[in-house]
Protein backbone atom coordinates (compact mmCIF):
# COMPACT_ATOMS: atom_id res chain seq x y z
CA UNK A 1 0.00 0.00 0.00
CA UNK A 2 2.88 2.39 0.82
CA UNK A 3 4.45 1.97 -2.61
CA UNK A 4 1.07 2.56 -4.20
CA UNK A 5 0.55 5.65 -2.06
CA UNK A 6 3.96 7.02 -3.01
CA UNK A 7 3.27 6.44 -6.69
CA UNK A 8 -0.13 8.12 -6.50
CA UNK A 9 1.34 11.07 -4.55
CA UNK A 10 3.94 11.65 -7.28
CA UNK A 11 1.19 11.46 -9.88
CA UNK A 12 -0.89 13.92 -7.83
CA UNK A 13 1.99 16.38 -7.63
CA UNK A 14 2.69 16.11 -11.36
CA UNK A 15 -1.01 16.60 -12.19
CA UNK A 16 -1.21 19.70 -10.03
CA UNK A 17 2.03 21.12 -11.45
CA UNK A 18 0.97 20.58 -15.06
CA UNK A 19 -2.53 21.92 -14.35
CA UNK A 20 -1.16 25.09 -12.78
CA UNK A 21 1.24 25.57 -15.69
CA UNK A 22 -1.53 25.14 -18.27
CA UNK A 23 -3.82 27.59 -16.48
CA UNK A 24 -1.00 30.11 -16.06
CA UNK A 25 -0.01 29.89 -19.72
CA UNK A 26 -3.59 30.16 -20.98
CA UNK A 27 -4.14 33.31 -18.92
CA UNK A 28 -0.72 34.66 -19.95
CA UNK A 29 -1.62 34.69 -23.63
CA UNK A 30 -4.77 36.70 -22.93
CA UNK A 31 -4.58 39.96 -24.85
CA UNK A 32 -4.37 43.26 -22.97
CA UNK A 33 -2.39 44.54 -20.01
CA UNK A 34 -4.26 44.44 -16.67
CA UNK A 35 -2.53 47.60 -15.41
CA UNK A 36 -3.56 49.66 -18.47
CA UNK A 37 -7.02 48.17 -18.22
CA UNK A 38 -7.35 49.18 -14.56
CA UNK A 39 -6.13 52.73 -15.08
CA UNK A 40 -8.02 53.47 -18.28
CA UNK A 41 -6.83 54.81 -21.63
CA UNK A 42 -5.79 58.25 -20.31
CA UNK A 43 -3.30 56.99 -17.73
CA UNK A 44 0.27 58.28 -17.85
CA UNK A 45 2.90 55.70 -18.83
CA UNK A 46 4.80 56.10 -15.55
CA UNK A 47 1.61 55.48 -13.54
CA UNK A 48 0.97 52.34 -15.57
CA UNK A 49 4.58 51.24 -15.02
CA UNK A 50 4.27 51.84 -11.26
CA UNK A 51 1.10 49.78 -11.08
CA UNK A 52 2.69 47.04 -13.18
CA UNK A 53 5.52 46.89 -10.67
CA UNK A 54 3.08 46.87 -7.74
CA UNK A 55 1.14 43.95 -9.24
CA UNK A 56 4.35 42.12 -10.11
CA UNK A 57 3.57 42.29 -13.83
CA UNK A 58 7.08 43.58 -14.66
CA UNK A 59 8.66 40.27 -13.66
CA UNK A 60 9.54 37.63 -16.24
CA UNK A 61 7.01 34.86 -16.96
CA UNK A 62 8.85 32.11 -15.01
CA UNK A 63 9.24 34.46 -12.03
CA UNK A 64 5.55 35.31 -12.11
CA UNK A 65 4.61 31.63 -12.34
CA UNK A 66 6.76 30.76 -9.33
CA UNK A 67 5.39 33.73 -7.39
CA UNK A 68 1.79 32.76 -8.23
CA UNK A 69 2.20 29.09 -7.30
CA UNK A 70 4.21 29.97 -4.21
CA UNK A 71 1.52 32.43 -3.18
CA UNK A 72 -1.25 29.89 -3.68
CA UNK A 73 0.60 27.34 -1.57
CA UNK A 74 0.70 29.84 1.30
CA UNK A 75 -2.90 30.94 0.83
CA UNK A 76 -2.02 34.21 -0.94
CA UNK A 77 -3.95 34.24 -4.21
CA UNK A 78 -2.89 37.75 -5.20
CA UNK A 79 -4.90 40.95 -5.33
CA UNK A 80 -7.99 41.48 -7.45
CA UNK A 81 -7.26 43.93 -10.29
CA UNK A 82 -10.75 45.39 -10.01
CA UNK A 83 -11.51 45.52 -6.30
CA UNK A 84 -7.94 45.75 -4.99
CA UNK A 85 -8.86 43.23 -2.27
CA UNK A 86 -7.11 39.89 -1.62
CA UNK A 87 -8.47 37.19 -3.97
CA UNK A 88 -8.26 34.66 -1.13
CA UNK A 89 -10.77 36.72 0.87
CA UNK A 90 -13.15 36.95 -2.10
CA UNK A 91 -12.85 33.21 -2.71
CA UNK A 92 -13.39 32.34 0.96
CA UNK A 93 -16.59 34.41 1.09
CA UNK A 94 -17.97 32.73 -2.02
CA UNK A 95 -16.91 29.25 -1.01
CA UNK A 96 -19.46 29.41 1.80
CA UNK A 97 -22.16 29.28 -0.84
CA UNK A 98 -20.67 26.97 -3.49
CA UNK A 99 -19.32 24.28 -1.19
CA UNK A 100 -22.53 23.75 0.83
CA UNK A 101 -24.46 23.80 -2.44
CA UNK A 102 -22.29 21.05 -3.93
CA UNK A 103 -22.52 18.95 -0.75
CA UNK A 104 -26.28 19.45 -0.54
CA UNK A 105 -26.66 18.37 -4.19
CA UNK A 106 -24.41 15.37 -3.62
CA UNK A 107 -26.53 14.21 -0.68
CA UNK A 108 -29.72 14.61 -2.68
CA UNK A 109 -28.27 12.81 -5.69
CA UNK A 110 -27.21 9.88 -3.51
CA UNK A 111 -30.53 9.78 -1.67
CA UNK A 112 -32.45 9.61 -4.95
CA UNK A 113 -30.09 7.32 -6.85
CA UNK A 114 -29.52 4.56 -4.29
CA UNK A 115 -33.14 3.52 -3.81
CA UNK A 116 -33.87 4.02 -7.53
CA UNK A 117 -30.94 1.85 -8.61
CA UNK A 118 -31.73 -0.77 -6.01
CA UNK A 119 -35.36 -0.90 -7.05
CA UNK A 120 -34.52 -1.14 -10.78
CA UNK A 121 -32.00 -3.94 -10.17
CA UNK A 122 -34.44 -5.91 -8.05
CA UNK A 123 -37.10 -5.58 -10.79
CA UNK A 124 -34.72 -6.25 -13.66
CA UNK A 125 -36.50 -6.59 -16.99
CA UNK A 126 -39.88 -5.75 -15.52
CA UNK A 127 -42.06 -2.63 -15.65
CA UNK A 128 -40.48 -1.00 -12.59
CA UNK A 129 -37.00 -1.36 -14.07
CA UNK A 130 -38.12 0.05 -17.40
CA UNK A 131 -39.77 3.03 -15.67
CA UNK A 132 -36.65 3.86 -13.64
CA UNK A 133 -34.38 3.43 -16.66
CA UNK A 134 -36.67 5.63 -18.77
CA UNK A 135 -36.61 8.31 -16.09
CA UNK A 136 -32.81 8.19 -15.84
CA UNK A 137 -32.52 8.41 -19.65
CA UNK A 138 -34.57 11.61 -19.44
CA UNK A 139 -32.61 12.85 -16.41
CA UNK A 140 -29.33 12.57 -18.30
CA UNK A 141 -30.74 14.54 -21.24
CA UNK A 142 -32.09 17.49 -19.24
CA UNK A 143 -29.71 20.47 -19.00
CA UNK A 144 -29.58 21.33 -15.30
CA UNK A 145 -29.91 25.07 -15.83
CA UNK A 146 -33.14 24.55 -17.77
CA UNK A 147 -34.46 22.21 -15.11
CA UNK A 148 -33.57 24.95 -12.62
CA UNK A 149 -35.72 27.43 -14.57
CA UNK A 150 -38.64 25.00 -14.54
CA UNK A 151 -38.25 24.54 -10.78
CA UNK A 152 -38.33 28.31 -10.31
CA UNK A 153 -41.42 28.53 -12.48
CA UNK A 154 -43.27 25.88 -10.51
CA UNK A 155 -42.08 26.18 -6.92
CA UNK A 156 -41.18 29.86 -6.69
CA UNK A 157 -43.56 31.59 -9.07
CA UNK A 158 -46.64 29.37 -9.25
CA UNK A 159 -46.64 27.87 -5.75
CA UNK A 160 -44.58 30.46 -3.89
CA UNK A 161 -42.89 27.86 -1.69
CA UNK A 162 -39.34 29.08 -2.35
CA UNK A 163 -37.66 32.33 -3.33
CA UNK A 164 -36.79 32.56 -7.03
CA UNK A 165 -33.19 33.44 -6.25
CA UNK A 166 -30.75 35.19 -3.94
CA UNK A 167 -29.06 34.06 -0.76
CA UNK A 168 -29.77 35.46 2.74
CA UNK A 169 -26.41 34.41 4.24
CA UNK A 170 -25.68 31.87 6.96
CA UNK A 171 -26.89 34.09 9.83
CA UNK A 172 -30.25 32.43 9.32
CA UNK A 173 -29.30 28.80 8.65
CA UNK A 174 -32.82 27.58 7.84
CA UNK A 175 -33.42 30.36 5.34
CA UNK A 176 -29.99 29.70 3.82
CA UNK A 177 -30.73 26.00 3.39
CA UNK A 178 -34.12 26.85 1.91
CA UNK A 179 -32.47 29.20 -0.58
CA UNK A 180 -30.08 26.43 -1.64
CA UNK A 181 -32.80 23.79 -1.99
CA UNK A 182 -34.00 24.46 -5.55
CA UNK A 183 -30.44 24.95 -6.87
CA UNK A 184 -29.38 21.71 -5.17
CA UNK A 185 -32.30 19.77 -6.69
CA UNK A 186 -31.49 21.16 -10.15
CA UNK A 187 -27.84 20.16 -9.77
CA UNK A 188 -28.62 16.76 -8.29
CA UNK A 189 -31.08 15.45 -10.89
CA UNK A 190 -28.73 14.65 -13.80
CA UNK A 191 -26.13 13.26 -11.40
CA UNK A 192 -28.76 11.11 -9.69
CA UNK A 193 -29.75 9.72 -13.09
CA UNK A 194 -26.15 8.70 -13.84
CA UNK A 195 -25.63 7.30 -10.35
CA UNK A 196 -28.85 5.26 -10.44
CA UNK A 197 -27.72 3.64 -13.70
CA UNK A 198 -24.32 2.78 -12.22
CA UNK A 199 -25.96 1.45 -9.06
CA UNK A 200 -28.33 -0.73 -11.10
CA UNK A 201 -25.67 -2.22 -13.37
CA UNK A 202 -23.29 -2.76 -10.45
CA UNK A 203 -25.98 -4.62 -8.51
CA UNK A 204 -26.94 -6.70 -11.54
CA UNK A 205 -23.29 -7.71 -12.01
CA UNK A 206 -23.02 -8.70 -8.36
CA UNK A 207 -26.29 -10.65 -8.43
CA UNK A 208 -24.75 -12.93 -11.06
CA UNK A 209 -21.84 -13.83 -8.76
CA UNK A 210 -21.34 -17.29 -7.26
CA UNK A 211 -21.54 -16.08 -3.66
CA UNK A 212 -25.06 -14.77 -4.26
CA UNK A 213 -26.04 -18.14 -5.72
CA UNK A 214 -24.58 -19.81 -2.63
CA UNK A 215 -26.55 -17.47 -0.38
CA UNK A 216 -29.70 -18.31 -2.32
CA UNK A 217 -28.89 -22.03 -2.10
CA UNK A 218 -28.63 -21.61 1.66
CA UNK A 219 -32.26 -20.56 1.60
CA UNK A 220 -32.08 -16.76 1.55
CA UNK A 221 -34.76 -14.95 -0.42
CA UNK A 222 -33.54 -12.81 -3.37
CA UNK A 223 -34.14 -9.67 -1.27
CA UNK A 224 -32.19 -11.06 1.70
CA UNK A 225 -29.29 -12.18 -0.50
CA UNK A 226 -29.19 -8.73 -2.07
CA UNK A 227 -29.26 -6.89 1.25
CA UNK A 228 -26.82 -9.10 3.15
CA UNK A 229 -24.26 -9.93 0.46
CA UNK A 230 -24.94 -7.95 -2.72
CA UNK A 231 -25.25 -4.40 -1.50
CA UNK A 232 -21.88 -3.99 0.14
CA UNK A 233 -20.01 -5.38 -2.85
CA UNK A 234 -22.02 -3.37 -5.35
CA UNK A 235 -21.34 -0.16 -3.45
CA UNK A 236 -17.61 -0.07 -4.25
CA UNK A 237 -17.91 1.22 -7.84
CA UNK A 238 -20.91 3.33 -6.87
CA UNK A 239 -18.96 5.16 -4.16
CA UNK A 240 -16.20 5.87 -6.67
CA UNK A 241 -18.72 7.61 -8.87
CA UNK A 242 -20.11 9.51 -5.88
CA UNK A 243 -16.63 10.84 -5.18
CA UNK A 244 -16.12 11.89 -8.79
CA UNK A 245 -19.54 13.53 -8.87
CA UNK A 246 -18.54 15.93 -6.15
CA UNK A 247 -16.20 17.68 -8.56
CA UNK A 248 -18.83 17.75 -11.29
CA UNK A 249 -21.22 19.32 -8.83
CA UNK A 250 -18.73 21.94 -7.71
CA UNK A 251 -18.11 22.88 -11.34
CA UNK A 252 -21.77 22.53 -12.28
CA UNK A 253 -22.67 24.94 -9.53
CA UNK A 254 -21.03 27.67 -11.65
CA UNK A 255 -23.94 27.69 -14.09
CA UNK A 256 -26.70 27.00 -11.56
CA UNK A 257 -25.54 29.96 -9.46
CA UNK A 258 -26.27 32.13 -12.49
CA UNK A 259 -29.87 30.92 -12.60
CA UNK A 260 -30.50 31.58 -8.92
CA UNK A 261 -28.32 34.69 -8.53
CA UNK A 262 -26.34 32.96 -5.79
CA UNK A 263 -23.18 34.79 -4.68
CA UNK A 264 -20.90 31.75 -5.11
CA UNK A 265 -17.68 31.00 -6.98
CA UNK A 266 -19.56 30.79 -10.29
CA UNK A 267 -20.82 34.34 -10.10
CA UNK A 268 -17.37 35.46 -8.98
CA UNK A 269 -15.85 33.89 -12.11
CA UNK A 270 -18.36 35.52 -14.44
CA UNK A 271 -18.07 38.94 -12.81
CA UNK A 272 -14.31 38.66 -13.08
CA UNK A 273 -14.54 37.65 -16.74
CA UNK A 274 -16.69 40.68 -17.53
CA UNK A 275 -14.26 42.95 -15.69
CA UNK A 276 -11.23 41.17 -17.19
CA UNK A 277 -10.02 40.57 -13.64
CA UNK A 278 -7.97 37.61 -14.84
CA UNK A 279 -6.08 37.02 -11.61
CA UNK A 280 -9.40 36.11 -9.97
CA UNK A 281 -10.41 33.86 -12.90
CA UNK A 282 -6.99 32.19 -12.80
CA UNK A 283 -7.10 31.55 -9.04
CA UNK A 284 -10.69 30.32 -8.91
CA UNK A 285 -10.11 27.96 -11.85
CA UNK A 286 -6.94 26.63 -10.19
CA UNK A 287 -8.83 26.14 -6.95
CA UNK A 288 -11.58 24.14 -8.69
CA UNK A 289 -9.06 22.04 -10.61
CA UNK A 290 -7.16 21.46 -7.36
CA UNK A 291 -10.38 20.29 -5.67
CA UNK A 292 -11.16 17.90 -8.53
CA UNK A 293 -7.66 16.42 -8.71
CA UNK A 294 -7.46 15.96 -4.93
CA UNK A 295 -10.93 14.38 -4.74
CA UNK A 296 -9.98 11.99 -7.57
CA UNK A 297 -6.81 11.14 -5.67
CA UNK A 298 -8.74 10.41 -2.47
CA UNK A 299 -11.26 8.29 -4.38
CA UNK A 300 -8.39 6.29 -5.89
CA UNK A 301 -6.88 5.75 -2.46
CA UNK A 302 -10.19 4.73 -0.90
CA UNK A 303 -10.78 2.34 -3.76
CA UNK A 304 -7.32 0.79 -3.37
CA UNK A 305 -7.85 0.44 0.37
CA UNK A 306 -11.03 -1.53 -0.27
CA UNK A 307 -9.85 -3.53 -3.26
CA UNK A 308 -6.20 -4.67 -2.89
CA UNK A 309 -6.05 -5.88 -6.52
CA UNK A 310 -5.94 -2.27 -7.69
CA UNK A 311 -2.71 -1.51 -5.88
CA UNK A 312 -0.76 -3.80 -8.12
CA UNK A 313 -2.67 -3.41 -11.37
CA UNK A 314 -0.97 -0.25 -12.60
Amino acid sequence: MLAYLAKRLVSLAVSLAVASLVIFLVVEVAPGDPASYMLGINARPDTVAALRAELGLDLSKPERYVAWVGGMLTGDFGTSYTYRTPVSQMVADRLWVSLPLALYALSLSTLIAFPAGLYAASRRGRMGDAAVMGATQLGVAVPNFWFAMLLVLLFAIKLGWFAAGGFPGWDEPLQAIKALTLPAIALALPQAAILARVMRSSLIDILGEDFIRTARAKGLSPGQALRRHGLRNALIPVLTIVGLQFSFLLAGAIIIEQVFFLPGLGRLIFQSITQRDLIVVESVVMLLVFAVIVVNFLVDLAYAAVDPRLRTRR
Partner: protein, 271 residues
Protein backbone atom coordinates in the same frame (compact mmCIF):
# COMPACT_ATOMS: atom_id res chain seq x y z
CA UNK B 1 -33.89 -3.20 -35.41
CA UNK B 2 -34.39 -2.27 -31.78
CA UNK B 3 -36.87 0.27 -30.50
CA UNK B 4 -34.45 2.71 -28.92
CA UNK B 5 -32.46 2.92 -32.16
CA UNK B 6 -35.58 3.70 -34.18
CA UNK B 7 -36.93 6.25 -31.69
CA UNK B 8 -33.51 7.85 -31.20
CA UNK B 9 -32.78 8.02 -34.91
CA UNK B 10 -36.21 9.52 -35.58
CA UNK B 11 -35.78 12.23 -32.94
CA UNK B 12 -32.28 13.04 -34.18
CA UNK B 13 -33.43 13.08 -37.79
CA UNK B 14 -36.15 15.64 -36.99
CA UNK B 15 -33.55 18.08 -35.71
CA UNK B 16 -31.06 17.37 -38.49
CA UNK B 17 -33.76 17.97 -41.09
CA UNK B 18 -34.97 21.11 -39.29
CA UNK B 19 -31.40 22.46 -39.20
CA UNK B 20 -30.82 21.66 -42.88
CA UNK B 21 -34.18 23.10 -43.87
CA UNK B 22 -33.43 26.35 -42.01
CA UNK B 23 -30.79 27.17 -44.65
CA UNK B 24 -33.57 27.36 -47.24
CA UNK B 25 -36.70 28.17 -45.28
CA UNK B 26 -38.05 28.98 -41.84
CA UNK B 27 -41.73 29.56 -41.04
CA UNK B 28 -41.00 33.24 -40.30
CA UNK B 29 -38.19 35.69 -40.89
CA UNK B 30 -36.30 36.05 -37.58
CA UNK B 31 -34.36 39.15 -38.56
CA UNK B 32 -37.39 41.41 -38.60
CA UNK B 33 -38.60 42.25 -35.11
CA UNK B 34 -42.34 42.63 -34.65
CA UNK B 35 -42.66 44.06 -31.16
CA UNK B 36 -46.49 44.10 -31.36
CA UNK B 37 -46.29 40.31 -31.64
CA UNK B 38 -44.05 39.77 -28.64
CA UNK B 39 -44.44 36.95 -26.09
CA UNK B 40 -47.45 35.42 -27.85
CA UNK B 41 -48.27 31.94 -26.53
CA UNK B 42 -48.29 28.94 -28.90
CA UNK B 43 -51.12 29.20 -31.43
CA UNK B 44 -52.07 28.05 -34.91
CA UNK B 45 -50.14 31.01 -36.35
CA UNK B 46 -46.99 30.60 -34.26
CA UNK B 47 -46.88 26.92 -33.27
CA UNK B 48 -44.37 27.45 -30.46
CA UNK B 49 -45.25 31.09 -29.73
CA UNK B 50 -43.07 34.19 -30.09
CA UNK B 51 -40.20 35.62 -28.04
CA UNK B 52 -39.64 39.07 -26.49
CA UNK B 53 -38.83 40.58 -29.89
CA UNK B 54 -41.89 39.01 -31.50
CA UNK B 55 -39.78 36.45 -33.36
CA UNK B 56 -41.25 33.04 -34.12
CA UNK B 57 -39.78 30.53 -31.64
CA UNK B 58 -40.07 27.56 -34.02
CA UNK B 59 -37.97 29.44 -36.59
CA UNK B 60 -35.47 30.38 -33.87
CA UNK B 61 -35.23 26.75 -32.74
CA UNK B 62 -34.61 25.63 -36.33
CA UNK B 63 -31.80 28.17 -36.67
CA UNK B 64 -30.48 27.33 -33.18
CA UNK B 65 -30.31 23.65 -34.15
CA UNK B 66 -27.76 24.63 -36.78
CA UNK B 67 -25.46 26.18 -34.17
CA UNK B 68 -25.82 23.34 -31.69
CA UNK B 69 -25.27 20.65 -34.30
CA UNK B 70 -22.35 22.46 -35.93
CA UNK B 71 -20.54 23.09 -32.63
CA UNK B 72 -21.09 19.55 -31.32
CA UNK B 73 -20.23 17.92 -34.63
CA UNK B 74 -16.96 19.80 -35.11
CA UNK B 75 -16.05 19.15 -31.46
CA UNK B 76 -16.60 15.42 -32.04
CA UNK B 77 -14.54 15.74 -35.23
CA UNK B 78 -11.65 17.28 -33.28
CA UNK B 79 -11.91 14.54 -30.65
CA UNK B 80 -11.96 11.74 -33.22
CA UNK B 81 -9.45 13.33 -35.59
CA UNK B 82 -6.81 13.66 -32.88
CA UNK B 83 -7.91 11.07 -30.32
CA UNK B 84 -8.19 8.06 -32.62
CA UNK B 85 -4.66 8.34 -34.12
CA UNK B 86 -3.26 8.92 -30.62
CA UNK B 87 -5.09 5.86 -29.30
CA UNK B 88 -3.94 3.74 -32.23
CA UNK B 89 -0.35 4.91 -31.76
CA UNK B 90 -0.46 4.23 -28.02
CA UNK B 91 -1.75 0.69 -28.59
CA UNK B 92 0.78 0.03 -31.34
CA UNK B 93 3.60 0.99 -28.97
CA UNK B 94 2.12 -0.55 -25.84
CA UNK B 95 4.25 0.04 -22.76
CA UNK B 96 6.59 2.40 -24.62
CA UNK B 97 7.18 6.05 -23.81
CA UNK B 98 4.64 7.15 -26.42
CA UNK B 99 1.95 5.01 -24.80
CA UNK B 100 2.88 6.38 -21.39
CA UNK B 101 2.78 10.02 -22.53
CA UNK B 102 -0.57 9.59 -24.32
CA UNK B 103 -2.18 7.69 -21.44
CA UNK B 104 -0.96 10.03 -18.70
CA UNK B 105 -1.83 13.09 -20.80
CA UNK B 106 -5.34 11.70 -21.17
CA UNK B 107 -5.60 11.11 -17.42
CA UNK B 108 -4.59 14.70 -16.85
CA UNK B 109 -7.21 16.14 -19.19
CA UNK B 110 -9.80 13.90 -17.54
CA UNK B 111 -8.84 15.36 -14.17
CA UNK B 112 -9.87 18.84 -15.28
CA UNK B 113 -13.49 19.81 -14.80
CA UNK B 114 -14.33 20.35 -18.47
CA UNK B 115 -16.81 23.14 -17.90
CA UNK B 116 -14.31 25.14 -15.87
CA UNK B 117 -11.66 24.86 -18.55
CA UNK B 118 -14.18 25.74 -21.24
CA UNK B 119 -14.98 28.84 -19.23
CA UNK B 120 -11.29 29.66 -18.86
CA UNK B 121 -10.67 29.31 -22.60
CA UNK B 122 -13.64 31.41 -23.60
CA UNK B 123 -12.85 33.95 -20.87
CA UNK B 124 -9.35 34.46 -22.16
CA UNK B 125 -9.86 34.18 -25.90
CA UNK B 126 -13.28 35.77 -25.92
CA UNK B 127 -16.72 34.23 -26.17
CA UNK B 128 -17.86 32.75 -29.46
CA UNK B 129 -18.81 29.56 -31.22
CA UNK B 130 -15.24 28.81 -32.39
CA UNK B 131 -13.77 28.96 -28.91
CA UNK B 132 -16.66 26.89 -27.59
CA UNK B 133 -15.86 24.25 -30.23
CA UNK B 134 -12.19 24.19 -29.21
CA UNK B 135 -13.06 24.01 -25.51
CA UNK B 136 -15.50 21.12 -26.01
CA UNK B 137 -13.29 19.42 -28.61
CA UNK B 138 -10.21 19.28 -26.36
CA UNK B 139 -12.11 17.14 -23.87
CA UNK B 140 -13.23 14.76 -26.59
CA UNK B 141 -9.62 13.92 -27.52
CA UNK B 142 -8.76 11.74 -24.48
CA UNK B 143 -12.21 10.10 -24.61
CA UNK B 144 -11.54 8.76 -28.11
CA UNK B 145 -7.86 8.11 -27.44
CA UNK B 146 -8.63 5.97 -24.41
CA UNK B 147 -11.44 4.09 -26.11
CA UNK B 148 -9.38 3.41 -29.24
CA UNK B 149 -6.36 2.32 -27.22
CA UNK B 150 -8.38 -0.08 -25.09
CA UNK B 151 -10.11 -1.69 -28.03
CA UNK B 152 -6.96 -1.76 -30.16
CA UNK B 153 -4.89 -3.46 -27.43
CA UNK B 154 -7.09 -6.54 -27.50
CA UNK B 155 -6.99 -6.62 -31.31
CA UNK B 156 -3.19 -6.60 -31.42
CA UNK B 157 -3.15 -10.12 -29.95
CA UNK B 158 -5.56 -11.50 -32.56
CA UNK B 159 -4.43 -13.88 -35.27
CA UNK B 160 -5.27 -11.69 -38.23
CA UNK B 161 -3.01 -8.99 -36.83
CA UNK B 162 -0.23 -11.49 -36.23
CA UNK B 163 -0.68 -12.66 -39.82
CA UNK B 164 -0.32 -9.09 -41.05
CA UNK B 165 2.88 -8.71 -39.02
CA UNK B 166 4.28 -11.90 -40.49
CA UNK B 167 3.42 -10.52 -43.93
CA UNK B 168 5.81 -7.67 -43.13
CA UNK B 169 3.40 -4.79 -42.60
CA UNK B 170 4.62 -2.11 -40.20
CA UNK B 171 2.67 -0.98 -37.11
CA UNK B 172 1.23 2.14 -38.68
CA UNK B 173 -0.13 0.21 -41.65
CA UNK B 174 -1.59 -2.52 -39.45
CA UNK B 175 -3.22 0.16 -37.28
CA UNK B 176 -4.88 1.78 -40.26
CA UNK B 177 -5.73 -1.31 -42.32
CA UNK B 178 -6.63 -3.85 -39.66
CA UNK B 179 -7.19 -2.21 -36.28
CA UNK B 180 -9.14 0.90 -37.29
CA UNK B 181 -11.90 -0.88 -39.25
CA UNK B 182 -12.46 -3.15 -36.25
CA UNK B 183 -12.82 -0.33 -33.72
CA UNK B 184 -15.07 1.73 -36.00
CA UNK B 185 -18.32 0.45 -34.45
CA UNK B 186 -17.18 1.47 -30.99
CA UNK B 187 -16.14 4.87 -32.29
CA UNK B 188 -19.51 5.47 -33.93
CA UNK B 189 -21.34 4.67 -30.70
CA UNK B 190 -19.03 6.87 -28.62
CA UNK B 191 -19.29 9.60 -31.26
CA UNK B 192 -23.05 9.67 -30.79
CA UNK B 193 -22.67 10.00 -27.03
CA UNK B 194 -20.04 12.74 -27.30
CA UNK B 195 -22.25 14.50 -29.83
CA UNK B 196 -25.07 14.63 -27.27
CA UNK B 197 -22.70 15.85 -24.55
CA UNK B 198 -21.47 18.50 -26.98
CA UNK B 199 -25.04 19.74 -27.50
CA UNK B 200 -25.45 20.06 -23.72
CA UNK B 201 -22.07 21.76 -23.31
CA UNK B 202 -22.77 24.25 -26.10
CA UNK B 203 -26.13 25.08 -24.56
CA UNK B 204 -24.51 25.61 -21.16
CA UNK B 205 -21.76 27.85 -22.53
CA UNK B 206 -24.20 29.88 -24.63
CA UNK B 207 -26.51 30.18 -21.65
CA UNK B 208 -23.79 31.88 -19.61
CA UNK B 209 -22.88 34.06 -22.59
CA UNK B 210 -19.64 32.31 -23.54
CA UNK B 211 -20.88 30.36 -26.58
CA UNK B 212 -22.41 31.57 -29.82
CA UNK B 213 -22.93 35.33 -29.81
CA UNK B 214 -25.89 37.29 -31.14
CA UNK B 215 -27.13 37.51 -33.85
CA UNK B 216 -26.28 33.79 -34.27
CA UNK B 217 -29.29 32.01 -32.73
CA UNK B 218 -28.52 29.30 -30.21
CA UNK B 219 -30.66 27.29 -27.82
CA UNK B 220 -28.62 28.21 -24.74
CA UNK B 221 -28.78 31.90 -25.66
CA UNK B 222 -32.57 31.65 -26.12
CA UNK B 223 -32.84 30.23 -22.60
CA UNK B 224 -30.66 32.99 -21.17
CA UNK B 225 -32.89 35.62 -22.83
CA UNK B 226 -35.99 33.82 -21.57
CA UNK B 227 -34.89 33.78 -17.96
CA UNK B 228 -36.22 37.21 -17.07
CA UNK B 229 -39.46 36.58 -18.94
CA UNK B 230 -40.29 33.20 -17.50
CA UNK B 231 -43.12 34.65 -15.34
CA UNK B 232 -44.73 36.55 -18.21
CA UNK B 233 -44.40 33.86 -20.86
CA UNK B 234 -43.23 30.44 -19.67
CA UNK B 235 -43.26 29.04 -23.22
CA UNK B 236 -40.26 31.22 -24.09
CA UNK B 237 -38.18 29.17 -21.62
CA UNK B 238 -39.92 25.83 -22.10
CA UNK B 239 -39.64 25.44 -25.89
CA UNK B 240 -35.85 25.82 -26.41
CA UNK B 241 -35.25 23.61 -23.36
CA UNK B 242 -37.50 20.92 -24.79
CA UNK B 243 -35.56 21.12 -28.05
CA UNK B 244 -32.31 20.43 -26.16
CA UNK B 245 -33.85 17.56 -24.16
CA UNK B 246 -35.36 15.88 -27.23
CA UNK B 247 -32.20 16.20 -29.30
CA UNK B 248 -29.98 14.86 -26.49
CA UNK B 249 -32.45 12.12 -25.66
CA UNK B 250 -32.61 11.14 -29.33
CA UNK B 251 -28.83 10.92 -29.59
CA UNK B 252 -28.51 8.94 -26.35
CA UNK B 253 -31.19 6.48 -27.39
CA UNK B 254 -29.55 6.17 -30.78
CA UNK B 255 -26.18 5.53 -29.11
CA UNK B 256 -27.67 2.79 -26.92
CA UNK B 257 -29.51 1.29 -29.87
CA UNK B 258 -26.46 1.39 -32.14
CA UNK B 259 -24.36 -0.26 -29.48
CA UNK B 260 -26.69 -3.21 -29.31
CA UNK B 261 -27.35 -3.32 -33.05
CA UNK B 262 -23.74 -3.06 -34.25
CA UNK B 263 -22.23 -5.61 -31.95
CA UNK B 264 -23.86 -7.32 -28.99
CA UNK B 265 -20.41 -8.26 -27.71
CA UNK B 266 -19.74 -4.55 -27.04
CA UNK B 267 -21.80 -4.86 -23.91
CA UNK B 268 -18.84 -6.65 -22.40
CA UNK B 269 -16.36 -3.99 -23.44
CA UNK B 270 -18.60 -1.13 -22.42
CA UNK B 271 -16.73 -0.10 -19.30
Amino acid sequence: MNRSLILGAALTAIFLVAAALSFLWTPYDTETLVIANRLKPPSAVHWLGTDHFGRDILSMIMLGARTSIAVALVAVGIGMGLGVPLGLAAAAHKGGWLDEVISRGGDLVFAFPSLVIAILITAVFGPGATNAIIAIGIFNIPVFARLTRGAALSLWTREFVLAARVAGKNRARISVEHILPNVMNLLIVQGTIQFSLGILAEAGLSYVGLGAQPPIPSWGRMLADAQTMVTLAPHVAIMPGLAIVLMVLGLNLMGDGLRDALDPRLKVLRT
